[in-house]
């Protein structure tokens, strides 16, 4: 593989060499930066996107699109593409800047699907290993919820805040679950129900997707960034990580990170490197680091494999009674995990969850008007007026089955830096598709049981992106060790959801944060 040749500027005076360079200023990268700097390390964070500040988080579904990925395109293929342009973020805060704040723990069974079900991969440890980190992070960040009401919740400390209120839409949809013999609980969220650590409580306006400028939703700008800045972390924006380079005299060590930014192309030296650039780009950086030796973590051709994304679908209904669907938060008001733990239940394979009663807007990809292209012309306005007051909606999130053939590779073209772009291939396993079909059918029945007079569902959508640099104890089936250290290196680590050997069916931000906290503990000691 060749790269465009440009002058490399040496910047590595020994006295200025950072202890750690982190690629990516998202949830994992900024958490690690804060923790390591607070422990006395000199830390530099490289971020491909621009600086984001709270006063830029304007309440608009149109402006919100600025927060999404706008870097090098990703070539996507397969029957269930991962949706990188929608799921990935760019700039300070990364994807977590636009995330909805659903912070759920993986269930114990999610950690051992290979052992229990002969599917995919096991995690290299059990739930009990991660539990104390979940507990610690939820105290640091602040979660709201009702642990007792979540009868299916894995063991752990109760939430530091009570749940957010349930509005009309949630109450209406709950009736459907009750009628079908299913339980619901307040949705646990990284959104303040009361003031927490100096951050304001939520105002229930449903602008979460545009970023939360009041700091009620725990995006990295209000959680880890202030701590990182206070601890002296240097943050370089608009700087793209191109590849890491091995030390020619000691190839198991990474000597430099090659970046391209406002100062041109540079080789940055550090004692340790952590790639936390979200699933696809983290893997791309490693793939582009091939030299005389295989790319880091790829001695056994595992790099990029086991790419996963949750198949998810929103089910909608119109009701006679008012639901006021503009009220609340984008994530929803209620949750049901009644069907979560029986992965082998008839009808398909895998866990699933319902996120119930999202605050919803008329426009944008997830808007209620956008999802009904069959309604147009003079019929549209009356329909919109009714939906604005009487709509209910809820989303089923299903487990993906990790497949080695679902993979991130390098694409057929290069970006503006002359570096090959990423390509993803993702097919949904037929058994996971069957589970999704089963749950969406049930979802329509739940809507009708709640009293909906008109029921429809959106398409299957890819929600979250995980895998690609999965961790494991066995180098022949993983890329990193259980601490996220790339197997064939001494000083290169990965952080973020790309480490997940399997997806479960819960939103990943809580788990990736717990993993990052655990990594920090490991690196500090």
């Amino acid at each position: 593989m060749t790269f465009m040749v440009s002058p490399l500027i040496a910047t590595d005076h020994e006295r200025n060499t950072p202890d750690t360079i982190i690629v990516g200023a998202g949830a994992a990268g900024l958490l690690l930066a804060a923790r390591l700097a607070e422990a006395g390390e000199r830390v530099v964070v490289i971020e491909a996107g621009p600086e984001r500040t709270l006063d830029q988080l304007w309440s608009s579904q149109i402006w919100a699109r600025r927060l999404k990925w706008s870097g090098a395109p990703v070539e996507e293929s397969g029957d269930h593409k991962v949706g990188h342009a929608f799921n990935a973020g760019m700039g300070t805060g990364g994807s977590a800047l636009h995330h909805y704040g659903v912070w759920l723990r993986l269930h114990p069974g999610d950690f051992q699907i290979a052992s229990d079900h002969q599917r995919g991969l096991d995690w290299p440890f059990a739930y009990d290993e991660l539990r104390p980190y979940y507990d610690r992070v939820q105290t640091e960040v602040g979660l709201s919820g009702d642990a007792n009401a979540e009868v299916w919740r894995p063991p752990g400390a109760p939430y530091p805040m009570g749940p957010l209120p349930v509005f009309a839409q949630g109450k209406v949809l709950a009736k459907g679950f009750k009628a079908q013999g299913k339980r619901v609980a307040p949705l646990p969220l990284a959104i303040n129900s009361s003031s927490y650590h100096g951050r304001a409580p939520c105002q229930f306006d449903g602008w979460c997707d545009a970023g939360c400028p009041i700091g009620a939703l725990a995006n990295p700008l209000v959680t880890w960034l202030p701590r990182a800045q206070k601890a002296g972390v240097e943050l370089r924006h608009n700087t793209r990580a191109l590849r890491v380079e091995r030390d020619p005299n000691k190839p198991e060590r990474i000597e430099a990170l090659v970046v391209s930014g406002p100062d041109g192309r540079q080789r940055l030296h550090a004692k340790r490197f952590i790639i936390a650039a979200f699933t696809v780009q983290s893997t791309r950086i490693l793939l582009n680091s091939i030299g005389d030796k295989p790319a880091p973590g790829n001695r056994h051709d595992q790099l990029g494999r086991y790419l996963t994304t949750h198949p998810a679908t929103t089910v909608f209904g119109l009701f006679d009674e008012p639901t006021l669907p503009h009220l609340g938060v984008s994530a929803g008001q209620l949750i049901s995990h009644d069907d979560y733990d029986d992965k082998s239940a008839a009808g398909g394979w895998g866990s699933s969850q319902w996120l119930i009663a999202h605050a919803i807007k008329p426009n944008d990809l997830l808007g209620y008007a956008t999802g009904r292209p069959d309604i147009h012309g003079p019929e549209l306005k009356p329909w919109l007026e009714r939906a604005a007051q009487h709509l209910g909606n809820m989303t089923v999130v299903c487990e993906d089955i990790p497949l080695a053939s679902n993979r991130i590779t390098l694409g057929s073209s290069v970006d503006n830096d002359g570096v090959p772009i990423a390509a993803t291939h993702h097919d949904l396993h037929p058994d996971a598709r069957s589970r999704w079909q089963q749950r969406t059918t049930e979802g329509q029945a739940l809507m009708r049981a709640a009293g909906a007079t008109d029921v429809w569902q959106g398409p299957m959508a890819p929600m979250h992106i995980m895998g690609g640099t999965v961790m494991g104890a066995d180098e022949t089936s993983s890329v990193t060790d259980p601490w996220g250290r790339v197997h064939d290196t001494e000083n290169l680590y990965i952080s973020g959801p790309s480490l997940f050997p399997s997806s479960g069916a819960v939103n990943p931000t809580f788990t990736l944060s717990a993993l990052a906290w655990r990594q920090a503990d490991h690196l500090i000691t």
């Binding site: 304007w58 579904q61 602008w207 147009h376 012309g377 919109l384």
Partner: protein, 191 residues
């Protein structure tokens, strides 16, 4: 015409040739961006830009007229709201385009060609006897006679989403639906 790095900003909301009043402007919302109008770059709403005769930067006037006609058939009010000006301005923004198309497989570098192809396909279909008002139903089922462009149902989805953005996705659109906008921070312009 090259777009200047700093645009000439105007907050014109007074009557101009009896066409636009402050009330008109408020009704149309604060959808402000820079448009080339009579040789100057002005910051206006897309509706104002349309009324003042903006100069397209990416697509031709004919192409934009086709898109606006179809968008208005899908979402009545979209043409008045300036969906043609909105699309052209976003295409001119390059990598900073905020068109929803980027979510569904049309990256910013490909968007100009994509929208141009839709416009040309609409023109071709109309020239071959399909009325604009009949296009939505036929596009939905990919059954437009003489359609030569991106898959019709896909094109419909994307263009309808743009029309929804400018017509109903703003504070004025919300007000018309009777729902509070309740911004944490009101955007300086709606896009």
């Amino acid at each position: 015409m090259a777009r200047p790095s700093v645009s000439k900003v105007t907050t014109t909301t007074t009557a101009r040739d009896g066409q636009l009043t402050r009330r008109d402007t408020l009704r149309m919302g604060a959808l402000c961006a820079s448009f080339c109008i009579a040789g100057d770059w002005l910051t206006t709403s897309p509706a104002q830009a349309k009324a003042l005769g903006f100069t397209p930067q990416v697509l031709s006037s004919q192409q934009l007229a086709q898109l606006a006609a179809l968008a208005d058939a899908l979402v009545p009010g979209a043409a008045e709201a300036g969906v043609d000006a909105y699309i052209d301005a976003q295409l001119n923004a390059g990598a900073d385009s905020m068109l929803l198309a980027k979510y569904v497989g049309v990256a910013p570098p490909d968007q100009a060609g994509f929208y141009g192809a839709i416009a040309d396909a609409v023109a071709h279909a109309v020239a071959n006897g399909t009325a604009i008002k009949d296009l939505p139903a036929a596009m939905l089922t990919d059954s437009v006679p003489h359609w030569q462009g991106p898959p019709a149902s896909y094109a419909l989805f994307v263009l309808r989403a743009d029309a929804l953005d400018v017509t109903w996705g703003t504070d004025t659109g919300y007000a018309a639906l009777g729902i509070p906008y309740h911004a944490h921070i009101m955007p300086p312009s709606s896009w």
